[in-house]
């Protein structure tokens, strides 16, 4: 670099340079101090807000009351050891014990133990996925599993809620950046409610059609999603007819519709396989 060409400026006294440097340094330090204080003040609320919104979404999807307990299960990969690690703990740092269960990649149990305090973010482990188990008293009330699918332009993240017998109760798109008209409609109630009420077996063989959606079915789905008084009855009446039919794609967004359907399919299937392995080892939690 040719920095030597820069000539010294005679008109600037050392004292003035000192004042300028002092002025800038003071501004930076005061700014950083103010930001540090604001960060410390708001960080607690930010965490609480994220947790509350997730808790509300899960309660709402599963139709739970205030008495229900939620357990969060996080899945990690220990890359070097080729182990899958599950950490189960009461959701949101509530009081209670945590449990760690470790499997090999082939599904053989490699270790389990109870932890007195939940670990915030274990080191050296690669986070893979999350799921939530809801309990009413000692009884299983349902599951919410996070899934993802590659949409038209962006990754679509969604929650699938299931009853203990793996029938779909609700599905919600959490994040998508696709444009309206080009895929964003998969978040619309009349599209996502199509999965509701189908059993895991029906989901496993679900296909997508480009046929137009029957008007009465669309109206019933919207009424159901809006929690209209006659919604559940209308939905149930038509579900008997529609549950043998494929999912109707969003017009002009077949790729996203297929991607979301495949994503729901895989999410439900993989969750069931993992849950059968994991459930017997969560005794302290359930």
């Amino acid at each position: 670099m040719t920095l030597h060409v820069i000539q010294p400026r005679p008109r600037l006294t050392g004292r003035e340079i000192g004042r300028i440097v002092l002025s800038m340094t003071m501004a930076c330090l005061v700014g950083a101090a103010v930001l540090g204080a604001v960060y410390l003040g708001t960080d607690r609320y930010r965490r609480a807000a994220t947790e509350t919104s997730e808790r509300e979404a899960i309660r709402d999807m599963l139709g739970l009351g205030a008495d229900a307990r939620l357990i969060e299960v996080r899945q990690y990969l220990a890359p070097a050891l080729r182990r899958v690690v599950y950490l189960a703990a009461p959701f949101g740092g509530a009081a209670g014990r945590a449990r760690e269960v470790i499997f090999t990649l082939d599904g053989a149990l490699a270790g389990e133990r109870s932890l007195s305090a939940p670990v915030a973010e274990p080191r050296g482990l690669l986070p893979l996925s999350r799921l939530f188990v809801a309990l009413r008293g000692r009884e299983l009330a349902g599951f919410v599993v996070e899934g993802r699918a590659q949409g038209y332009k962006s990754v679509i993240r969604f929650f699938v809620a299931m009853r203990p017998d793996f029938e779909i109760v609700d599905m919600r798109v959490i994040e998508t950046q696709d444009d309206p008209g080009l895929g964003a409609e998969v978040a619309q109630p009349w599209f996502r409610e199509q999965y509701v009420g189908r059993t895991a077996e029906e989901i496993a063989h679900l296909t997508v059609t480009r046929d137009p959606m029957p008007e009465d079915w669309k109206a019933a789905l919207i009424a159901f999603a809006r929690r209209a008084p006659d919604g559940p009855a209308r939905h149930l009446a038509l579900l008997q007819r529609e549950r043998r039919r494929p999912v109707y794609a969003v017009t002009g967004a077949t790729i996203s519709s297929r991607a979301v359907t495949d994503g729901v399919k895989n999410t439900v299937d993989h969750f069931r396989r993992r849950w059968w392995l994991l459930a017997p080892h969560l005794e302290g939690q359930l």
């Binding site: 600037l12 930076c28 930001l35 590659q150 993989h270």
Partner: protein, 333 residues
């Protein structure tokens, strides 16, 4: 403006100090980013294999559901139990293998009962000969995808609506648009890499994420000041031509958005570079297109209330509509 007015001596002194500091910082950043960065996730250059065993030469995913392998010698075991393919992020769920076929030249075609995406990251494990291999698109292909996405699919001007002030201000004439485009792309790359280095090696390890905005805007200001001083001293001709654009860059929000996006997705050095280059090129492209259209607009009869900015907005709307055609463009599809 051919020559700058009388310079404030204080700024000169401060900028001389800044120049040295920045030069040192840049060299340090370059050294750090040139050092080998450990690859994210599990990467295994295969377990030790006896010399006679066939080696895996290449592995590629073919849509919709095939994996094509090429070995150095024929394989002994061809039963489906010999192979295990999983998504890198779902290592505990093997993808059901339906069929193994051989093809001439020691090739194998594995057909799976599930759709495979060429852009995804998979992991292949073979029992005999024992080997593990990550199956993912080549790095250059991924980088090209990031760049194309930043320049066309998510063009910062037409689909993310950033940098509009400069965009409408500088797109009146074609030569200014070209000058701004070139200057901006270069400064963008410079700033984004410096911000990335600061974020990765200073802010993140020290948990100072809340200083991001302050640090990034500081980097932009310093880089612009540094280049301005350097260019004036070393290449006055170039400075006369491009200096004015340098000053304008500080008010362009794209220059701040790219470091923020990089920090948000905690991308690696190459991803950060690709995003910076792509967004710079995308902005230059948008500016060039717009200036061509606006030069022609001067000969059109525009209704009086629409003269000036309103009709320019309508033009930008038409370009945005055209750019929607790029969404869904996929290198791997």
């Amino acid at each position: 403006m051919s020559r700058r007015g009388p310079r404030a001596p204080g700024r000169e002194g401060a900028s001389r100090a800044a120049t040295w500091l920045l030069g040192l910082g840049l060299v340090a950043a370059w050294l750090l980013s040139a050092a080998p960065v450990p690859a994210a996730g599990p990467s295994s250059p295969a377990t030790p294999v006896p010399a006679a065993a066939p080696r895996l030469l290449s592995a590629r995913v073919h849509a919709p559901n095939e994996l094509r392998l090429r070995f150095s010698a024929p394989l002994a075991r061809l039963d489906p139990e010999n192979f295990r393919l999983t998504l890198a992020l779902e290592p505990d769920i093997p993808i059901p293998l339906q069929d193994v076929r051989t093809a001439p030249g020691n090739r194998l075609i594995l057909t799976f009962g599930q759709r495979l995406q060429p852009a995804d990251h998979y992991r292949l494990e073979v029992v005999a000969p024992p080997l593990r291999r990550d199956v993912k698109p080549a790095t250059w292909a991924l980088l090209l995808t990031v760049m194309l996405a930043a320049a066309l699919i998510n063009n910062f001007v037409f689909t993310r609506y950033l940098g509009l002030c400069i965009f409408f201000g500088v797109s009146k004439r074609r030569d200014t648009a070209i000058g701004m485009g070139i200057t901006f792309t270069l400064v963008m790359i410079f700033t984004a890499m410096l911000s990335w280095a600061l974020d990765t090696f200073v802010l993140r390890p020290l948990h100072l994420g809340f200083l991001q905005i302050l640090v990034f805007i500081g980097v932009v200001a310093f880089v612009v000041q540094f280049l301005d001083t350097m260019l004036r001293k070393t290449h006055p001709g170039l400075h006369r031509r491009f200096g004015i654009y340098l000053v304008l860059i500080t008010t362009n929000c794209i220059i701040l958005a790219v470091p923020l996006l990089n920090a948000q997705s905690s991308s690696g050095p190459l991803d950060a570079l690709a995003l910076a280059a792509g967004s710079g090129v995308g902005f230059a492209f948008a500016l060039f297109l717009m200036s061509c259209a606006r030069e022609r607009m001067e000969y059109a009869r525009v209704p009086q209330p629409f003269q000036g900015l309103p009709i320019a907005f309508a033009l930008a709307g038409l370009f945005a509509l055209a750019f929607m055609g790029f969404s869904g463009l996929d290198f791997f599809r």
